[in-house]
Structures are given as structure tokens and as C-alpha cells.
Amino acid sequence: MTEATRTGQMLAADGTPLKRSLQRALRAQKLRALMLIAPLLLFIMVTFVAPIADMLFRSVENQIVSDTLPRTAQAIRDWDHNSGEPPSDDVLAAFTIDMIAAVERKQHTRLGTRLNYEQNGLSSLFRKTGRGVGDIGETYRDQFAALDPAWTDPGTWIALFADPSWQADHDAWEAARTAARSAGRPFAEPVPPFRLKDGMAGVLPETADAYLDFARAVQGNRNGDPAARAPWPPVYLALYRDLTAVGVGRIATLDEAAQALLDPAHYAVRGFERADLAALYAGIDRAWSQTTVWATIQTFSARYTPGYFLTAVDLKQTPDGITSQPADQKIYIMLFERTLVMSLTIMGACVLLGYPIAFLLANLPMRTSNLLLILVLLPFWTSLLVRTSAWKVLLQQQGVINDILVWIGIVDNAGRLILINNQTGTIIAMTHILLPFMILPLYSVMKTIPPSYVRAAKSLGATNWTAFWRVYFPQSVPGIGAGCILVFILAIGYYITPELVGGTSGTFISNRIAYHISSSLNWGLAAALGTILLGVVLALYWTYDRLVGIDKVNLG
């Protein structure tokens, strides 16, 4: 009697219970299998899943507005665009600081381009404003300078706002630079990153914030030295605003040098000539005194936006809700429809042309059918571009096909057919290019249909047609299904052939996507269009699965 039967447990040769030993072996096997597919899995994750996820993200991402105009996005939140009044001075002041920082970082034109997608004219408005915003606050700078020339000295600002430890770091850096220069050595050490003095944000919040941005922007721009430059005029605007708001008690918490500088200024600002921000902006461009521009900024200051998706279906997000695009800019629905209709047409043409060929391939004697198969495969192996260019040569008005037709006398020389740069061109060229994708699955399915079935039908009295239609055809349907899915899904995302032979009327949505990726640089819209296209394909695939059943598809 063995041990195993006594305890009711089977044991492996080494004495461990068989179950556990088996599990261990299986786990090792699974791990090995996983490791074998790991490279492929990783490859698919990196090249397929990650880009699609990135595309999905880009289609809703809108951080550029809140990243470039953080203060404005905050300040404008409570403004009511229906009030008919442009936003208050608080918003304008916040916008001024944001804008000058964006100009210094060269981000304002990109932001203008982004907002221009939603409202025409904003691109040029932001460019124009970028040229003018540096002057806003000049009134205050001049008045501060008149009060005490020290205000235009960069050192004053450093002493006031820079952390003492940073000032020490900066002094050391400067000493090293002087030493290197006098020794004739190159010196590429960057300025130590600017740090704000503790407590300043509590006394002069806007100024500290603006000055910090100034120092960072100066450093970001080829390692400039904030200690060598007086701040932008808009920083003086912030100083003025802070000094009119802050109490004497707060200033008294600062060190003596700061008090000596700020106390007279605090007293004097009450007598300063005020700059009318609204008028200054209206002077740059009248658009700033209307509410529409501000409303657009407010609407699109969220970090995520449905705006791109709405544009992709000819809608538009406005401050008052979603509306339809003006008629002369509605093109995307039409392009989606065109893409679908033309892909279906191409798919149908492929079935009509491919079915007889596949039938011949499957039923001819081996020698002839092999030759035929090579004829099918040869173009399949030829470069896509070569084939498309060949169609250009064939189809153009002075091309081979028209020449032959004129020569035979079917068409008149003046009435040459227009076969290219329109939908006809796209359909002809794409049908040819996608035909093998229809023929090959059809062929492999037909190959498996036993010829005896048709013979049996005939021997039972069916005509040729009945035998084909009732017996042969139903068995070839899985091949048609596979070919159709393949051709349709390939066609719907085709790009290069429509681009080359489609002119303007025969191009697909994918050409539009490419245009937005490489020319207009509206990557968000391109991503939204791509996501919708992906969704359409998945939806069609799902419908097909429900109607026909994907397990019925047979690739041979």
C-alpha cells in the first residue's frame, strides 16, 4: 500500500503532493509562454495601444489655455459674459501679466492659433496684443521712477524679492564668471534658479507672483540673468495694484530696507495717475472691448474640452452652448459620408470583380490557376505608390486610356473623359489596389468547397445556375464576408491614393486628418477625427458581428 492511498493524496516522485507539483510545472510553463509573447506584447503596447491612447487624450486635451493664461483663467471664472460688460480691471491685470510672460516664453502665438480654431480672428489678435502688451504698465513704471529712480534698478528688485540664499548663490556665480572671463576661459554655468523671498507673497501678492514669473522667463530664455534686467512694465502695474490694496501694517512686517523703499511708494500711489486698462487694450485692438473674445477665453479655459469633437461633427461650442457651424464651414459630416459611401462602393466593386476571378482560381486546373494566382499577386507585391502613379499615367486626360478611346473613335478628342482628380479616379485606383484583399480570402474559402456538392446538385436535376446559387454561393459567403471587412476597413482609412488621384472631390476624411497633422497643425482636431473614424470602424465591426457573426468569417 502506498503513502498516497493512505492519506488520500497523490504524491509525486520527490514526495510533494502531485497537485502542487503539477501547479508549479504549469506555472513555469505559463510564465515561459508569457515570456515568449512578451516582446510582441510590448511591441503592441508601445506601437499600437500607446499611440491610440495618446490620440484619444489629445482630442480632448486643452491645457494650453490654462497653462499659458493661468491667472486669467482663474480671474475670469466669475465673470458673466451675458452682462454685456467686458471683464473688470482684475481680469485685465491678470491677463497682462499672463500675456507678457507668454510673449517672453514665445507661447502667445501658439495660444492664438489654438483659440482661432474656436473663433476666427483670435490668432491675429494675440499676435497684435503680444506686440503691444509690453507697454501696458509703462505709466506706472515712469511714475515709480519719478518717485525714486531706484525702482528702475534691477538690484532694487532683487533685494526686495530674491531670497537671501539665492542672492548669495548669485554672488558666487557672478564671482566665478568674472574669474573665468578675466582668465579667458569660457563660462557656461547657468544662473542659479531664482527663489522668491519668504513673506513677500503675503505683502505684495500680485507683484511677487509677477516678478517670479519674470525671473523664470528671463532665466528660461537662454539663461538670462534676472539681476541684470529691470522687470517688464506690467510688473509695475502689479506693484501699483498691490500698494493701493495693502495696509501700512503689512509693510511694517518687512525688513527696514524694504520699508524705506515701500513706505513712500505706498503713500505716493494714492496720487498716481491711473492707467485705464480697458482703454489701453481697446487701443491695441477694439476686439478687447467686446465681450466675445473674453467669452471665448472663458469658455476654453477648462483643461479638457469637447471642442475638437464638436468641430469634427460640424458643431461649435460657444459661451451660450452648442450651435451649428456656419454653412460655409460645414465639411466634416460631408467628408465622413463621402468616405463611407465611397468605401462601400469600392468594396462592392471588389466583390463584383473579385468573385469571378476567385471562382476561376479555385476551379481551374492547377497549372492555369497557379499562373492566374501569380497575376493576382504580382500587383499585390508592387509598391503602392508605383501602382497609384501608374494609374495617374493611365487615367489622365492625355493619358493612355483616353488616347486609346480617342484612337478607336469612342470619344471625341475634345470630349476626353475626366477619369482622374475626382471620385472616379479614387474608386478605380483603390478598387484595383484593394482587389487582392478580396480575391485571396474568397479563393481560400472556395478552395475548401467540395466540387462533389455541385455535382450532386446537378445530378439531382438542378440547372447550372441553381446549382451555383443554391449550393455553391451560400458556402462561399464567409469568404465574401471576410473580404468585405478587410477591404472596407482598409478603404475607410486610405490616405495616399485619394491624395494622389482624388483631386478635391475624391479625397477622404483621412486626407483631412493628414492636413491637420502636417499643415494646419490642429492636432487636437486631427485626433478627434481619427477617434471618430476608429469609433465608426468599431461600430461597423460590432454590427457585422451581430448580423453575420464574426466566427462565420473565414480567411481560409
Binding site: 514665445k106 480672428g121 491675429s124 465639411i331 492636413y515 494646419s520
Partner: protein
């Protein structure tokens, strides 16, 4: 040939190169390869022949050429986002340089500091004049967009177009036209042929109605237009007889007319001048940047820019190079009459208004593309 003979022969060949190499200051802390982006085709060949090959011979630098100038802005933006700049020097048209400079994707340079003075002693800024219109741009050539037409169109009954507006005259000059699939230049030409004066052009275009007026004019020939996006398409279509007239860059037409002797003529009326030049991507590591600057100093000097005109009919951007423009390297044709800057050719002309287009590109482009798709 004996070994000694071989040696002396190489010495003879090497001599002029050695003499030139002495002019070239040594490049310290420089990468030994460069990735240069250009447009491909005859233009890139002219750059290779006029500057890259001589430079490579003198310094041993390896050049990798990428033909992506068409998508330079998109790709530089992507590289910048990815934080990995793989290009060292990029050839772009003026408007793209403006955009790259505005967005901080191109490096700001002081051309007086980094480029050679003109042979006539002028500073680079004086020498390049208007062509150096922003802080990032290092111009090479002046080119123009102009029209070519076929000379043997039966339907024209012996007439040939003598001005731009023949483009819109379907009655006297029937047939397909080839135009660029972009609004720029097309809308200016449309307005000029719709009775707008040159001086009022951009005032009219700045009103919303101006663009509509231009599109309405283009509507009259829309059915007869085949649009192009690559400069080679119009010459190809003209040569095939697919179109009877079309716009393209003057250098491309030069090769169809002079090098390939096709029955095509040039229509200089209202040619639009443009500049093409280099930008340096922002954020290059120091050794690569040093190499680029060293190369640029050589490649944009007076002689090199004049040399380029031996290979393509584009005018050098330096005034001091103009007198040195000679004959075509292979054909021996005098190049001056084929230059867009030849006085005979520039009776009516426009200069691409970079400023206006930088401000309005986004709006007009969106409107134009929607118009096209409808």
C-alpha cells in the same frame, strides 16, 4: 601609373582644396556629422553641389539629408514636445521661419555676428537687406512663384497669354489650370484680376469681404483647376499636356523649358517673390550647434550663394552675390535672364507679405480649405 605618379596626381587635386581649407577657420568642439533638412529635387542638389560637397571635402563632415521641409513646422513641434531634436539645420520658406521663430522652435541668431561679411565689405545685415526679416532667418535665395503655359494649345487659336489675368479668361484660353492647394498667392492674384490695385491689396484682404471676393473670383475657374501641393506637379502636368497653364516656382519651370525643352513658356507677370533660407532648431547641444554655425559661415558667404545659381535659376539672397552669377554648370546658359530678379522679368510683381500672412494665415487657410472641400 606608378605609386609616385598617383601620389602627385592626388596632390594636384588636393592642392586647391587645401588652399581653400586655409581660409576656413578650424572648428572647435564640433560634431562631425550634420542632419540637414531641405526640399529634395533640383533645389537640394544645388545646395549639395554649391555648399555641402565643398564643405565636406574640406572638413570631412558627413551630411545626412532629410527631405522634410514641407512638414518642417509640424515635425519640429513634435521633436520639441518629445524633447529630442534630431535635425541640425532646416531649410524653410519665409512664412514657416516666422512661425517657428514666433513659437520659439527656431533659434534666434545675430547674422552680423555669425555670418561672413559680403565680398564688397558690406555687413551681412546690409548685404541680405530685406530678406533677413526676422531674428531666426538666414536667407539663401530669392525665388518666385510664377506661371507657365503651353505654347501649342490648339483651342487658343494662336493666342498666347501676355498677362496674369489670362488665368481667369476661360473664353480665350480654355483648358485646365494647375494652382496650389493653398490660399496664399491665389487670392492675391484673384483680386488683382478682379480690379483691385496692388497698393490696396492687403487693405481689401483685411476686410472679411476681401477674402470672399477673392474666392468668388476663383469660383469662376474652380471647375477647371487641378490643385497641386508639390512644386513638381505643375511642370509635370504642363509637360504631359494635362493642363494648359499653371503656377509653380520659377526654378521648376526653368528646368521644364530650358533643360527639357518642352513647349512651355514662362509668364512673369505678377510673379510673387519669396525667400528661402535656413533656421537652426532651438535646443541643439553645443557640439552640433558649433558645427552648424561653422557650416553656415561658409555656406552663406558671397561666393557660395553665387555658386548655387549655377545649378538652379533662383537668385542669391545677398546683394554682393548678384554680380558673380554666371552660367549654368552643365548647359552653359547665361543664368541672369532666367532669374526672377532680372529687371525684364519684374515689371509687375508682388513680394510675399509675411507680416500679413503671419497674422491672417489661420483664418484664411481655414476658409479656403472649406471652400475647396465644398
Amino acid at each position: 601609373m606608378t605609386i609616385r605618379g598617383l601620389l602627385s596626381a592626388t596632390a594636384l587635386v588636393a592642392l586647391p582644396v587645401a588652399a581653400m581649407a586655409q581660409d576656413l577657420p578650424p572648428c572647435e568642439n564640433c560634431a562631425d556629422s550634420m542632419t540637414v533638412v531641405s526640399w529634395g529635387g533640383a533645389y537640394q542638389t544645388s545646395q549639395i553641389k554649391a555648399y555641402a560637397e565643398p564643405y565636406a571635402a574640406m572638413t570631412g563632415t558627413t551630411f545626412t539629408w532629410d527631405e522634410s521641409s514641407n512638414e518642417a513646422v509640424a515635425k519640429l513641434r513634435a521633436m520639441n514636445e518629445a524633447g529630442n531634436i534630431t535635425w541640425d539645420l532646416v531649410d524653410v520658406e519665409g512664412p514657416d521661419s516666422q512661425r517657428l521663430c514666433d513659437e520659439g522652435l527656431a533659434m534666434e541668431v545675430d547674422i552680423d555676428e555669425i555670418l561672413a561679411a559680403g565680398d564688397d565689405g558690406s555687413t551681412p545685415r546690409e548685404d541680405f537687406g530685406d530678406s533677413a526679416f526676422n531674428d531666426c532667418y538666414i536667407p539663401q535665395i530669392v525665388f518666385s512663384t510664377t506661371f507657365g503655359y503651353r505654347t501649342n494649345v490648339a483651342e487658343w487659336g494662336g493666342r498666347t497669354p501676355d498677362n496674369l489675368c489670362a488665368l481667369f479668361d476661360l473664353e480665350n484660353f480654355p483648358g485646365k489650370r494647375s494652382l496650389e492647394r493653398r490660399p496664399k498667392k491665389n487670392i492675391e492674384w484673384a483680386l488683382l484680376c478682379d480690379g483691385v490695385e496692388k497698393d490696396d491689396l492687403y487693405d481689401v484682404l483685411s476686410t472679411p469681404e476681401g477674402v470672399e471676393q477673392a474666392l468668388a473670383k476663383l469660383d469662376t475657374i474652380k471647375s477647371e483647376v487641378i490643385w497641386w501641393s508639390a512644386g513638381a506637379e505643375t511642370p509635370q502636368r504642363l509637360a504631359d499636356g494635362e493642363v494648359v497653364m499653371g503656377s509653380t516656382y520659377n526654378g521648376r519651370l526653368f528646368s521644364v523649358i530650358v533643360e527639357q525643352s518642352q513647349p512651355v513658356e514662362m509668364l512673369w507677370d505678377w510673379q510673387v517673390f519669396d525667400f528661402d533660407g535656413w533656421i537652426i532648431p532651438e535646443g541643439l547641444p553645443e557640439d552640433r550647434l558649433n558645427r552648424v554655425l561653422h557650416f553656415l559661415h561658409f555656406a552663406t558667404d558671397t561666393q557660395r550663394l553665387a555658386d548655387q545659381a549655377k545649378f538652379i535659376s533662383y537668385g542669391p539672397a545677398r546683394a554682393s552675390s548678384q554680380p558673380l552669377v554666371s552660367t549654368h554648370a552643365d548647359l552653359g546658359v547665361e543664368m541672369a535672364p532666367h532669374m526672377p530678379t532680372n529687371p525684364e522679368n519684374q515689371k509687375n510683381y508682388l513680394v510675399n507679405n509675411i507680416e500679413w500672412w503671419a497674422d491672417n494665415q489661420d483664418d484664411v487657410e481655414a476658409r479656403f480649405q472649406a471652400w475647396l472641400a465644398q
